[in-house]
């Protein structure tokens, strides 16, 4: 029985993970799965429409899906009656095809109290608003947003940041609305048919008019009306949805709907893809699933031959979005963490094994997710701050699995699942900035250096965090529980020491490789740039820990406190330097995390404070004192031998 339970637990979750690979069940007769897989070009890369919708909704609503309370009186156990839920794709299609309906959806997230009071919106939540809610204040938002845009991002106040963000989100919303059709067109298919019909007579009339000959004024005016409309559309449309007309010659010549229709003036032919999208969006608008599916099917067949790679990319990235491996692994880590903690209080073997198997399952999903991303991007695992968070967590979990395999005392398990979980949360918050698979800027465009320098440096971060979290386990268990016996203390200090060695190695090699990359691309090995300094600080700090231990300057508890401080050092190097907003590396700039960074530093300092408490306040060490007092009996004044070693 004891052997079977862990396998059952992990089996259930493995099935859950595999279940995510199935395509979602269609809620309506519209074939949204295949629509979501259609390739388009955005941010310089081919991606499925589903990614466009998800990233846009993530930016506007800070979530990848939409939900709102439909019927507040419905009981909570009937969520389908209480809430309206929509996937990002459904929301996008509704916005594009039925904007009158979409404009009442509460998608704009606003949580800055000053901004809410400026817009006369309730300041006590819920913090989601529809375009309809915001409509009376658009001029004010625009005015404030333009003012904020002129201010250096690093010096914007919280209010300025929020209003700037809201203004950008409103623009994005408007552009999405005009992606598949002009927002005021009821039957876009019919409109395009009229455009095709007016095209040749209009062009002939225009040529005559230019030559000063008599021409058909009506035909010319009809064409001019179309051209005005599509010229505006070309300015607003967001993703480039029309595939290259001659992919064999120019693979990246994608164009937006408006630009493609303007090109029709020279080709005299409305692009077939525009007609296909018009048919789909019109069918969706008029709730005609059969026509929608037919048009979608025809369009997919037309892409299949010439753009097979792009179609495949769309299909694969759709699967990745749908599966959400990082979300799955996060959930598994949380459970593994709970199992690990529980195993210290009872039923250790079964809980520890279950937790460990779950951790391994989480690691497998995490690894497959990273590999999947690498294949989609054609890049090494770390390309931006988002993926560095995912990878730091991965490195920590790998180390945790190794430690747990050796020591089997749930320490590695708890540490690894905690870091895995926290880094995924960080990654999620970083992804709110937009597309996480953005193209690499020219200066970073070097797979060789991305896969050597960046990976080693990131593993150095992982290892330093692992050492720090192990030390936290030591301090918390030592102060608050009696479970930290001599054996556990010895094991933990060996783990921390070994991990710090590992961290020193990786951060040193990574830093030097970074210097060599800088020598290759900027002309100097070392420039005292903040990010370089951050990496150097990690190396120095780890070297300090090692030398302090070799020199006998610190014993067990000192080692733990230094290791916890390593967390502060690493978080500063990872995020803090980006907040300074100076230096060549400030491409990873982000502004919202300062609060969280300070909170993290405060908790770490508090933990160090705990670690500095004299042994008599430690639940585990007090026992030890009592035990040795018992032994020495009549000589309580002499310092007990056991007390010295941990101090």
């Amino acid at each position: 029985m004891k052997k079977i339970v862990p396998w059952i637990v992990v089996g259930v979750f493995a099935l859950w993970v595999l279940g995510g690979l199935r395509p979602p069940a269609e809620k309506t007769a519209f074939d949204l799965t295949d629509f979501g897989r259609l390739p388009v070009l955005l941010n310089g890369r081919v991606q499925p429409i589903d990614s466009v919708a998800r990233n846009a909704l993530l930016q506007i609503r800070t979530r990848q899906a939409f939900a709102e309370v439909k019927n507040p009186d419905a009981p909570w156990w009937k969520p389908s009656e209480k809430y309206t839920r929509m996937s990002a794709l459904e929301w996008f299609l509704e916005l594009a095809a039925r904007p009158e309906q979409a404009d009442h959806r509460k998608v704009f997230r606003i949580d800055n109290p000053e901004l809410l009071s400026l817009l006369r919106l309730p300041v006590d939540g819920p913090f989601y608003f529809s375009l309809h809610d915001l409509a009376p204040h658009l001029a004010e938002i625009d005015k404030q947003g333009q003012r904020a845009a002129a201010i250096e991002p690093a010096t914007r106040t919280a209010f300025e940041k929020s209003v700037f963000r809201l203004q950008q989100n409103l623009i994005l919303y408007q552009r999405l609305k005009n992606t598949l059709r002009p927002e005021d067109s009821d039957d876009f298919s019919a409109e395009l048919a009229a455009f095709q019909r007016d095209l040749e007579p209009g062009l002939a009339a225009a040529a005559k008019s230019e030559a000063g000959q008599a021409h058909d004024e009506k035909a010319l005016n009809a064409l001019v009306a179309h051209v005005r409309r599509y010229n505006d559309l070309a300015q607003t449309a967001y993703p480039l949805i029309l595939p290259p007309p001659h992919p064999e010659m120019q693979r990246d010549a994608w164009s937006s709907l408006g630009a493609g229709l303007m090109d029709a003036l020279s080709t005299k032919q409305v692009p077939p893809a525009a007609l296909a999208y018009a048919a789909m969006v019109t069918a969706y608008r008029h709730d005609q699933p059969a026509q929608f599916n037919q048009a979608l099917d025809n369009y997919r067949q037309s892409l299949a031959g010439p753009l097979a790679t792009e179609v495949k990319k769309g299909r694969e990235e759709y699967l990745f979005n749908q599966w959400q491996p990082f979300y799955l692994s996060t959930t598994i880590y949380v459970l593994a963490f709970l199992f690990g903690c529980a195993s210290w209080f009872g039923w250790p073997r079964v809980l520890n094994r279950s937790g460990f198997y779950l951790l391994v399952l989480g690691l497998i999903v995490h690894t497959v997710g990273i590999a999947f991303r690498m294949a989609l991007e054609g890049r090494p695992p770390v390309t931006n701050l988002y993926s560095s968070a995912v990878f730091v967590g991965w490195g920590a979990v790998v180390l945790g699995v190794v430690l747990e395999r050796i020591y089997r005392d749930s320490v590695g398990l708890v540490m690894a699942s905690a870091i895995g979980f926290v880094t995924q949360i960080i990654a999620h918050n970083l992804s709110v900035g937009g597309d996480t698979m953005e193209m690499m800027r020219a200066v970073l465009d070097s797979n060789f250096w991305l896969s050597t320098h960046v990976i080693t440096v990131t593993l150095g971060y992982s290892a330093t965090f692992v050492a720090g979290f192990l030390a936290i386990v030591y301090i918390l268990r030592g102060v608050f529980s009696r479970g930290l016996n001599a054996e556990a203390r010895g094991a933990l200090s060996r783990m921390v020491y070994g991990t710090v060695c590992f961290a020193t190695l990786f951060s040193f090699v990574g830093t030097v490789l970074g210097g060599i990359w800088a020598d290759q691309s900027w002309g100097r090995f070392w420039g005292w740039d903040p990010k370089e300094n951050g990496a150097l600080i990690i190396v120095l700090w780890n070297a300090l820990i090692l030398h302090a231990r070799w020199g006998g300057l610190v014993k067990e508890r000192g080692l733990m406190n230094l290791a916890v401080f390593g967390n502060i050092v690493t978080s500063f190097s990872w995020f803090g330097v980006n907040m300074l907003g100076v230096g060549l590396h400030s491409y990873g700039f982000m502004d919202k995390a300062a609060f969280w960074l300070w909170s993290f530093i405060a908790t770490q300092l508090a933990l160090i404070g705990l670690g500095l408490l004299p042994p008599r306040y430690w639940a585990s060490l007090r026992n030890l004192k009592a035990a040795s007092d018992g032994k020495t009996g009549s000589q309580p004044k002499t310092a007990p031998a056991g007390l010295r070693s941990p101090a």
Partner: protein
């Protein structure tokens, strides 16, 4: 020798730890200080100095408050060498550590060498343009060119360090002396009507211009644009006062003793024995974005001394190393819109002369090798202990003997 307190002090691990702590703090505060002081000032004040000074507000008093980069690095170096000479010694068991530390020493010394010997400048080229000099980005010079001979110019350059107010510069090759009346490291033109201000110069283009002093820049994206007012004194007496500024694009001409001269305050130039021609500058963005995809410059290198004449492509992460100089793609103005506006693209190459550029590469190899040696020694030791443990476990050993070796306990036993 180890009893000597000085030797004991300099070889101790405590000193190492203190130095590492100081280095950590120094790098940290040096990073924060960049927000206000800018990179160059921080480099000079924190890292390339023996002490970090604190200037008492309102006075000229500077108090050393923290050891600077040179002091910390220097003490660490001495510490390491003395420790090896006295405490650690050179034994085979320490080969890995020795290699690691030798690599570190090389890295530190190499960076010191770079600090002292590296010179950075830039070469800004329009498409089709040829240059045989690069320009400093930060330092200026007062150039006096004798342009009497149509076939070539004779240029005398006076570095900005000598342009102190009150200085009088006499050079044998010039028939006049230069008296510096004013020198502003950074300046800006005064726009609009300023009738109240007396003209600063009596001669040249500067008569109609007004400039004001500005504080030196801190950001690495900006540079100082200096302005100087100089008085020229010929053999026959005062020639007049000239206003020289890097803001003035064209040199100012004057004639002295039948010879034509041109005066300018310009970025310091470093002449090379070869020339570079920019053939094509390219800057592409990813389709539909403003994310740069590549920057590249196709150049022609001509060296009359060696008869060399060849084309090279310089790209991001792919510099040209030639004649002790390295040319990096630095800045670029070559967008599609620029071409459509009929402007010629320009490319700026960073030119670095760093005789010590190879040291970090060698240091990296040494440290890497050291780490491999160190880890394999540990691994062999670990494997031996595992083997010993297996043998011990197989043999019937008295319980007391096993207890004396807690490290050999099987891992599984710890969990129970």
């Amino acid at each position: 020798m180890r009893s000597n307190p000085l030797v004991r002090f300099f070889s101790s691990l405590k000193l190492t730890v203190v130095c590492l702590a100081c280095a950590t703090v120094l790098v940290f505060i040096g990073t924060l200080a960049q927000v206000n002081q800018g990179l160059y000032a921080v480099q000079a004040n924190y890292f390339q100095s023996f002490f970090v000074f604190w200037q008492v507000p309102g006075t000229a008093l500077r108090i050393p408050v923290f050891p600077g980069g040179y002091l910390v690095g220097g003490v660490l170096l001495v510490n390491l060498i003395v420790a090896y000479a006295t405490r650690i010694g050179f034994r085979r068991i320490h080969t890995g550590l020795l290699l690691i530390h030798a690599g570190l020493v090389l890295l530190l010394l190499g960076q010191l060498w770079t600090d002292l010997a590296q010179r950075e400048s830039v070469m800004r080229l329009e498409e089709g343009e040829t240059k045989s000099y690069s320009e400093s980005q930060r330092h200026t010079e007062l150039a006096v060119a004798d342009v009497s001979d149509p076939s070539h110019d004779q240029v005398v350059a006076i570095p900005e360090a000598q342009l102190k107010p009150g200085a009088e510069i006499r050079l044998a090759s010039l028939p006049f002396a230069i008296k510096v009346q004013q020198f502003w490291l950074n300046s800006a033109p005064v726009r609009g009507q300023t009738n109240a201000v007396v003209p600063m110069a009596t001669q040249g283009a500067g008569r109609n211009q007004q400039f004001m002093q500005r504080p030196p820049v801190t950001s690495t994206d900006e540079r100082n644009v200096p302005t100087a007012v100089v008085e020229l004194v010929g053999n026959g007496g005062l020639l007049g006062t000239w206003l020289l500024s890097d803001w003035l694009l064209a040199p100012q001409s004057l004639e002295v003793a039948g010879k034509k001269y041109e005066l300018s305050l310009r970025l310091a130039r470093y002449y090379k024995p070869f020339s570079i021609t920019l053939l094509e500058a390219r800057h592409d963005n990813y389709k539909g974005t403003s994310i740069p995809r590549n920057f590249s410059s196709r150049v022609r290198v001509r060296n009359p001394a060696t008869g060399e004449d060849r084309e090279v492509l310089i790209r991001m992460n792919d510099p040209l190393r030639y004649d002790g100089f390295t040319f990096y793609q630095y800045q670029m103005m070559a967008g599609e819109d620029l071409r459509q506006a009929g402007q010629r693209p320009t490319s700026t190459l960073q030119v670095v002369r760093n005789p010590g550029w190879l040291t970090p590469y060698i240091a990296c190899v040494l440290v890497g090798l050291g780490l491999v040696v160190q880890f394999s020694t540990h691994l062999i030791g670990f494997a031996r202990r595992r083997l010993a443990k297996a043998v011990l476990a197989a043999a019937p050993v008295p319980a007391a003997a096993r207890e004396r070796k807690p490290k050999l306990k099987p891992a599984k036993a710890l969990a129970r």
